[in-house]
């Protein structure tokens, strides 16, 4: 529905914005904005999401290219991880005298 309205009314496409706030950290999702193309999206993201020096790097992705898992399937989708408690360090019963491990 939205994609067709988009073309019909010449609406600028929607972009998701990710910002790395400081070297060493991941890019984090900051929000979205409308822009005519990638260059404009980055400039707008800088204007709106980094007014207080919150970013050293900006990624923009057209929202239509984000693919997401289905939350309704969460139970079965993540089920394999649910009973593998041996992935956690606390599963292993080791003597207290043991150090550096």
């Amino acid at each position: 529905m939205s994609a067709q309205n988009n073309k019909a009314q010449n609406e600028w496409p929607l972009w998701e914005v990710f910002i790395r706030s400081k070297a060493g950290l991941d890019h984090k999702h900051a929000g979205s904005l409308h822009a005519a193309d990638a260059q404009m999206a980055i400039e707008n993201a800088r204007d709106v999401y980094t007014r207080r020096m919150e970013g050293v790097s900006i990624w923009v992705v057209e929202s239509k290219y984000i693919h997401a898992s289905n939350p309704d399937d969460a139970a079965s989708f993540y089920e394999p991880a649910n009973d593998k408690i041996y992935r956690h360090p606390t599963f292993y019963n080791l003597p207290d005298e043991l150090t550096h491990m």
């Binding site: 309205n5 009314q9 929607l14 929000g31 404009m40 289905n70």
Partner: protein, 320 residues
């Protein structure tokens, strides 16, 4: 085990009751979605329309510092509008649809912005009282049940505190200035006090949407609770700078531990909500003009980006 309509509702309410945040692709009742679209989009419209009464004084700020600060505040409000439109768009409405609702008069925005800013002191009163009331409302919204709205509010609240401080500072400087300056500050307070406490909405008993909003944890505190808290803290702030709240019935109630205050003019409240405030027409016209007069910019940007894309493709072909 097949999920019935009833069990979807129950599962949803269980999440709400357990403070589990609802995210965009989660199942939600139609009315929850509709209510949020209405509330978030109207909140966004309020930010954008809110740029107008303060934008009015940018060219007439009394010093360069005050001009730069006011510009920064108004820029922030534009940004807040964006965060909120973005949050609303996750619920299935487009930006163009929301703007069409605003421009047609179908969507509302906060009534406070239908009052005029008549003097420089109004910049002080607006920052101190209007942003102050907004903060009182927005801090609890940082824990609202819908994820994108809550996260937008966290960002907004971080930026909002400088807004209130700059407003109070303006009032403080005027109140300790010449007789004319002090009078201008008091006059602004006289005009903005009652509209500011009206920002918290009708009394709880007269508020139709509140009960369902609270059950869904969209709203965390009642109108009356927030209004009382705002009055209690603001009265003390006014005392500090020697200004008088224009309410003869304002009185500390030792038993309740709160200030008793006078009756709000509910006729004025509903009249402004209905569209008969001093600046309703002016505000809406300004937004309609901005949209219509900016059409060529939107079209040109799309045309230019298409041109840029074709040029890049041609260069790639030529280089190959």
């Amino acid at each position: 085990m097949p999920m019935t309509a009833q069990s979807f509702e129950q599962h949803f309410q269980d999440k709400i009751d357990n403070e589990i945040t609802i995210e965009p692709r989660d199942w939600m009742p139609d009315d929850y979605r509709k209510t949020l679209i209405r509330q978030i989009s109207q909140h966004a419209h309020s930010e954008i329309v809110g740029m107008l009464p303060e934008g009015n004084w940018i060219t007439r700020a009394p010093s360069l510092r005050r001009k730069a600060v006011l510009l920064a505040k108004v820029q922030d409000e534009g940004g807040h509008g964006l965060y909120l439109y973005s949050a609303a768009e996750t619920l299935g409405i487009t930006r163009d649809e929301m703007l069409a609702q605003l421009h047609s008069g179908k969507a509302k925005y906060s009534s406070i912005f239908n009052y005029p800013t008549l003097t420089w002191a109004d910049m002080g009163a607006v920052g101190w009282l209007v942003d102050g009331a907004a903060i009182m409302n927005q801090v609890p919204l940082c824990r609202t049940s819908y994820g994108p709205y809550a996260r937008a509010m966290v960002r907004v609240c971080k930026e909002e505190s400088f807004h209130q401080r700059q407003g109070f500072e303006i009032m403080m400087r005027l109140a300790e200035g010449t007789e004319v300056q002090k009078k201008m500050a008091q006059d602004a307070l006289n005009r903005w006090w009652w509209p500011s406490i009206m920002m918290f909405g009708p009394k709880d008993d007269d508020s139709a949407h509140s009960a369902q909003s609270m059950a869904w944890r969209i709203k965390r505190f009642s109108n009356d609770e927030l209004r009382q808290k705002f009055i209690d803290v603001t009265v003390e702030q006014a005392k500090l700078i020697g200004l008088t709240i224009p309410d003869p019935d304002l009185k500390w109630n030792e038993e309740k531990g709160h200030y008793d205050f006078g009756e709000i003019n509910w006729d004025e409240f509903w009249n402004v909500v209905k569209g008969n405030g001093p600046c309703n027409k002016e505000r809406l016209t300004a937004r309609q003009n901005a949209w219509n007069n900016g059409a060529w910019v939107r079209e040109a940007a799309l045309a230019y980006s298409e041109k840029r894309k074709q040029r890049a493709e041609k260069q790639a072909v030529d280089a190959a």
